[in-house]
C-alpha cells in the first residue's frame, strides 16, 4: 500500500530563489547542472563485517556492511548464491525518518540497488554454490543511512559496491554433505562489473544530477540510471509523481554516462582497483 507522502515544504521565497537561479544556469549551492558534490568513499570501517564502507556525497552519508554466511538456495535458483539487500533509514539521519520497519522509500532504494548489482553481475553468484540445491553462500548487504542531505540512492549504491568489492569472503570447506565456512581463510570477491548509479532530478524543467535535499523536494520527478564499464545500462528507476519526455530520458542517460568517470575514480581509489 502506498500513500501520497506529506513532505516538508520549501518556503515560497526560497523556491523562487532556486527557480530564478536555475533559469540563469546556476544551482542554489553553486554547482553546474551536471556536477556532483564532493565524493568520498572509505572502506573497512566495521571490522565485524566481512566488508564495509562509508560513502559521502556532499553531506549525505551512508554506511554499508556485508555479512556472509551459508543458506539453502532459492528453489528456482538452486545453483546460485543468495544476495539480500536491505536498507534502513535510521531515524538519526533525518527529521523525516521514523523508527520502524523499512518504509516504501527504503524498500525501493534497496530493490533498485539490488537490481543494479544483480543485473550487472557485480558478484558472480553462480560461483558461490558449493552444494547446489542444498547449501550456498548468502551475502547480506545492509545499507545504513546516517545523514540525509539528498541523493541517498547514489550514495547508498557507492557504499554497497565498495563494501562488496572489499569483502573478505571466507573459504568453504565441504566434507561429504557437510559445508562450513572457514573464516580464517578468505579470498576476494569474484566479480564482473563495477556499476555506478547516477540520479538526475527534474526541477522546474531543468535536469540536475545529484540533487541536494531542497532540489529533491522541489523535483517533479527523478530518475536513477545505473551503468557499467561495458557502456551498458543495468538498472533504471523513475521516481516521483511527475513525468519525463522521451528527449529528457535521452539527456538523463547521457548525463549518467558523463558523470560516471568521476564517481568511478572515487570508488576505485577506495577499493584499491586502479
Amino acid at each position: 500500500m502506498s500513500l501520497t507522502p506529506v513532505l516538508p515544504r520549501i518556503n515560497k521565497l526560497r523556491e523562487q530563489e532556486i527557480r530564478t537561479a536555475l533559469r540563469q544556469g546556476i544551482r542554489i549551492d553553486g554547482r553546474g547542472f551536471d556536477e556532483y558534490r564532493s565524493i568520498q568513499v572509505t572502506t573497512g570501517v566495521v571490522s565485524q563485517a566481512e566488508g564495509s564502507a562509508n560513502a559521502l556525497i556532499g553531506g549525505t552519508r551512508v554506511m554499508a556492511g556485508v555479512k556472509i554466511g551459508l543458506a539453502t538456495p532459492y528453489s528456482d535458483q538452486p545453483n546460485m548464491g543468495v544476495l539480500i539487500v536491505n536498507a534502513e533509514f535510521v531515524p538519526l539521519a533525518s527529521p523525516t525518518f521514523e523508527p520502524g520497519p523499512p518504509d516504501e522509500n527504503a524498500i525501493e532504494l534497496a530493490r533498485v540497488i539490488d537490481r543494479g548489482i544483480r543485473s550487472s553481475k557485480v558478484i558472480l553468484l553462480e560461483e558461490y554454490a558449493p552444494l547446489p540445491g542444498k547449501r550456498v553462500y548468502v551475502f547480506f548487504i545492509d545499507i545504513y543511512v546516517l545523514d540525509h542531505l539528498g541523493n541517498l540512492l547514489d550514495t547508498a549504491a557507492l557504499a554497497s559496491i565498495a563494501a562488496l568489492y572489499t569483502a573478505k569472503i571466507p573459504k568453504v570447506e565441504v566434507v561429504g554433505d557437510e559445508v562450513s565456512l572457514n573464516r580464517s581463510v578468505t579470498e576476494s570477491i569474484r566479480t564482473s562489473a563495477l556499476p555506478i548509479t547516477v540520479t538526475v532530478a527534474k526541477v522546474f524543467d531543468h535536469l540536475l544530477v545529484d540533487p541536494n535535499l531542497e532540489e529533491e523536494l522541489l523535483a517533479e520527478a527523478r530518475i536513477a540510471i545505473t551503468t557499467t564499464e561495458r557502456d551498458t545500462i543495468c538498472a533504471v528507476q523513475k521516481m516521483g509523481s511527475g513525468a519525463f519526455t522521451r528527449q529528457e530520458i535521452e539527456e538523463c542517460v547521457e548525463l549518467a554516462f558523463k558523470c560516471r568517470p568521476k564517481i568511478e575514480e572515487a570508488l576505485r581509489l577506495a577499493i584499491g582497483h586502479a
Binding site: 500500500m1 502506498s2 500513500l3 501520497t4 506529506v6 516504501e104 522509500n105 524498500i107 525501493e108 534497496a110 530493490r111 537490481r115 544483480r118 543485473s119 550487472s120 520527478a221 530518475i223 557499467t228 561495458r230 557502456d231 551498458t232 545500462i233 543495468c234 538498472a235 533504471v236 528507476q237 523513475k238 521516481m239 516521483g240 509523481s241 511527475g242 513525468a243 519525463f244 519526455t245 522521451r246 530520458i249 535521452e250 542517460v253 554516462f257
Partner: protein, 252 residues
C-alpha cells in the same frame, strides 16, 4: 547474441518466442470498464493468461488524518497479488515487491490525476492480480486509469503501460512470464499517450544504450496500441449506459 535487435540475418530461423509471437506483437488483450457494483470505478483486464481487477473508491475523507494535504488529493494505491495467482502459493501479506510496485504505480497515476481539484480528500486504488503472467504492473496501470475514468476522476490524460525487453538477443514487446525469467532484460514503461509523457520507467537486466532506446521506443509503441483499446473500452461502457437508459416516453 551480442548484437541485440539487429540479429535479423543469421539467426532469423532459430529465434522464436515461446508463444510464437513476432518481436513487436502484443499478447491478446481484453479490457473491460465498470465491472464491480460497490466501487465508484472499476476495470478488468486479461493479457495472455494474466487477469487483473482494479477498483477505485472515493474521493472520501482522509484517513489517517495526518496524511491529509491541504492543497491536493491524497492517493492510496495498493498493488497486490492473490495467493493463488502464481505457480507457488504466495503468502497474502504484501511483499517488498508489492510495496515498491504500489509506490511506482501511485506515482505514475498521480502525474495524470488533477490532484489539486481535491484538497483534503483521499482516493483509493486497489489493484488485484488474480492471475500473474508477466507484465502485471503495466496492465495494472492501464486498468487503474480506466477505473479512474470510470469513477469520473478528472485526469490530464489516460495512463497506459506496456513492457519491452530483451529475449535471446532480440528486443521484444510485452514479455510473457517465461520470457521475463529467461530474458536478458526487462523494461516496464507507462505513458500519458496524448501528452507524450513518460510516467513510469523501470528497467533491469543489461542493455546497450542503443538497445535501451530501442526497447523504450517499442514499449511506447505498445502503449499507443493499448491506448486505442482503452478508448474503445470506455466507449463500449458509455454506449452500454445509453442503451440502459429507459426511453423517455415510458415515463408518464
Amino acid at each position: 547474441m551480442q548484437q541485440g535487435g539487429g540479429a535479423e540475418g543469421q539467426a532469423a530461423e532459430e529465434w522464436r518466442r515461446p508463444d510464437g509471437r513476432a518481436a513487436d506483437e502484443l499478447r491478446p488483450l481484453r479490457l473491460e470498464v465498470g465491472v464491480l457494483e460497490n466501487a465508484e470505478g472499476s476495470a478488468y483486464g486479461e493479457q495472455g493468461r494474466g487477469k487483473i481487477l482494479v477498483a477505485v473508491y472515493g474521493p472520501t475523507e482522509v484517513h489517517p488524518r495526518h496524511m491529509e494535504h491541504v492543497d491536493r488529493l491524497t492517493m492510496l494505491c495498493r498493488y497486490h497479488m492473490a495467493p493463488f495467482s502464481t505457480e507457488e502459493r504466495r503468502r497474502p501479506q504484501p511483499t517488498r515487491r508489492d510495496i515498491e510496485l504500489s509506490k511506482v504505480i501511485r506515482e505514475a497515476l498521480e502525474a495524470a490525476v488533477l490532484t489539486e481539484r481535491f484538497p483534503r480528500s483521499m482516493l483509493k486504488i486497489f489493484i488485484e492480480v488474480l492471475e500473474a503472467a508477466g507484465g502485471t504492473r503495466c496492465l495494472g496501470i492501464t486498468l487503474a486509469s480506466l477505473a479512474l475514468a470510470n469513477a469520473g476522476i478528472p485526469m490530464r490524460d489516460l495512463v497506459v503501460g506496456c513492457a519491452a525487453g530483451k529475449y535471446k538477443g532480440r528486443i521484444v514487446l510485452d514479455l510473457s512470464e517465461e520470457e521475463d525469467k529467461e530474458g536478458e532484460a526487462d523494461m516496464a514503461v507507462a505513458i500519458m499517450p496524448s501528452l507524450n509523457r513518460i510516467v513510469l520507467l523501470q528497467m533491469d537486466g543489461e542493455l546497450t544504450r542503443e538497445e535501451f532506446f530501442q526497447a523504450l521506443d517499442l514499449a511506447i509503441e505498445g502503449c499507443r496500441r493499448i491506448h486505442k483499446m482503452q478508448v474503445e473500452a470506455i466507449k463500449r461502457k458509455l454506449q452500454e449506459g445509453l442503451a440502459l437508459t429507459p426511453p423517455t416516453e415510458e415515463k408518464e
